[in-house]
Amino acid sequence: MNTKKWLLTLVFLLIVLVGVPWAINASGRWDFYYTLTSVALLSIASAGVWLTFYIGRINIGQGAYTLIGGYASAILVTQLGVNFWLTLPLAGLACAIISVFIGLPILRLRGVYFAMVTLVLTEVARLTALALPITNGAKGIVSIPLPAELSLFGLTIIPDFATLENPKLAFYIAAVIMMVLCYAALYRIVNSRLGHLCRSLQQNEELSASIGVNTAYLRVIAYSISSFMGGVAGASFVSISQSIYPSTFQVVDSVNFMLNCFLGGLGYVLGPMLGTLMLYFGWDLLFTMGKYQLLIYSSLIILLIVLLPNGILSLPLFNKRGGGPK
């Protein structure tokens, strides 16, 4: 990264970590914390989907992993008393491991075939959650406690959220930090030789194999990283809402994760972040339209995809300075 990108990153961090809380405080719109926290977490799940796009696969199944991650964390916290902060990486890991077994067979498929199978995954996850005793069926898992204190050698790293005066702010800060880490990792992947290899898969799998790339392995790695992000996002989401049901993440969420990537731009690391923000706020702003909300919303998305096939970040406005800040 050059100096300019570091500077832009710094400005971004100042805005989201200092500017936004200040503005919310000044305006008294406390509900914005929940909205922005959701955007941050959903953009982590979308980042995962973006990575599968990056190896040339259309992934409409991220909802399955956010659901699995959510349940994994909820079960660990409520039944085994594991600290929430520990369940975060565990939920991600669980999703990554499951995705290896699912990915091995299905990642051989390409194009619409892969997309169709992933579309089914979310529904399978929902039905499984409905049927299993450990997930408590349709009643779901409720009254999940807020994240407990995390300490290392007696030193408090993260305080117990239940004792905080403003847990909403704490959730927001935590979500933003996770989002930044997630996109930093994504940026690093894309700008290292790893990204170069992923692009080779996206552009020509056969040639990639013939220059010695273990394409099956690389695909599974990328897919499991993607699912890890889904799991972490799902687990965090559940801890904010303090409950999870089989319907917490549905097919429509999987579709939204994909749309976020499309809309932001598949060629830009920051695409899914911007896409998530726009779609989430777009949907909320159209709330006043009542029963026409979905109609207008869908029409606008179609229009955007037709007019800007390479995403919002392909607008000249963003490209004068050559790519996003990250």
Binding site: I189, R199, L207, G212, N214
Partner: protein
């Protein structure tokens, strides 16, 4: 001269069609061996079998005494057998240089996570690949198009880029499927020199499939002729030129002229 590759009773069926039928031949280390034959004779299928992009229906391929048929394609590539494609295949949305750099994968020492964290090995790999790519670009005279997107390159350059990608893997055997297709006479002669250079200066054994007979006659040390999946002749360009069966096979098909 030692044998580097041996094709033994190699067979491949597609349903009822026998695309490659019990073909036998050997390849000597350091030679240029051409496979010729009319359209649909089974030449590309033969290459796909050798590079393990297709499973065999019978027979085997032996590389340096080791059976390599039916392994994964990337494993065969790793052993040193690399194929370029009949259809121009390159990474379209990368520049010439990026294409060549990514193709160095076989020589990578660092792990995937090493590349993520930027380990010492990874940095050494990256520096090495960049240098080697520059060297290949110079060797093939591609400096003017080094930073051009591959999707913007004309056909002739794409073929050269295909060979550059092959070279980056430092293969022991390079399989070129119709490297001169779609080129005019001058471009073809330039490519012939280029392929000869690859063989002479880099010691790469080359197998190529080609329809351009003057080019084949000029470039080949030996030629194997196949027709309807079967080998019908084998020998030096002079021997093939005068072979009855070959002349017959080519006269029998309309769109090919052996050009002799």
């Amino acid at each position: 001269m030692s044998t580097i590759l041996e094709v033994k009773n190699l067979t491949r069926r597609f349903g009822g069609l026998v695309a490659v039928n019990s073909v036998n031949f050997t390849v000597n280390e350091g030679e240029i061996l051409s496979i010729i034959g009319p359209n649909g004779a089974g030449k590309s299928t033969l290459f796909k079998l050798i590079s393990s992009f297709l499973k065999t229906s019978g027979g085997e391929v032996i590389f340096k005494g080791e059976k390599i048929s039916n392994l994964s394609p990337h494993v065969v590539a790793r052993k040193g057998i690399v194929r370029t494609f009949q259809e121009t295949t390159i990474f379209r949305s990368m520049t010439t240089r990026e294409n060549i750099i990514v193709a160095h994968h076989l020589r990578a020492k660092a792990s995937l996570s090493g590349y993520f964290w930027g380990s010492a090995k990874a940095r050494r790999d990256e520096a090495l690949f960049a240098d080697s790519a520059d060297e290949i670009i110079t060797f093939l005279g591609m400096e003017p198009i080094a930073d051009e997107l591959a999707s913007n390159l004309p056909q002739g350059n794409l073929r050269a880029l295909g060979i550059a990608i092959g070279l980056a893997t430092k293969p022991e055997i390079l399989l070129l499927d119709e490297p001169f297709a779609g080129m005019n006479h001058d471009e073809t002669m330039h490519m012939v020199d280029l392929v000869r250079n690859v063989q002479k200066e880099r010691g790469v054994t080359i197998m190529l499939v080609e329809h351009d007979m003057p080019a084949v006659m000029k470039i080949s040390d030996r030629i194997v002729v196949i027709n309807f999946g079967e080998k019908i002749a084998e020998g030096t360009p002079a021997e093939i030129r005068n072979n009855e069966k070959v002349i017959e096979a080519y006269l029998g098909s309309e769109d090919d002229a052996i050009g002799i």
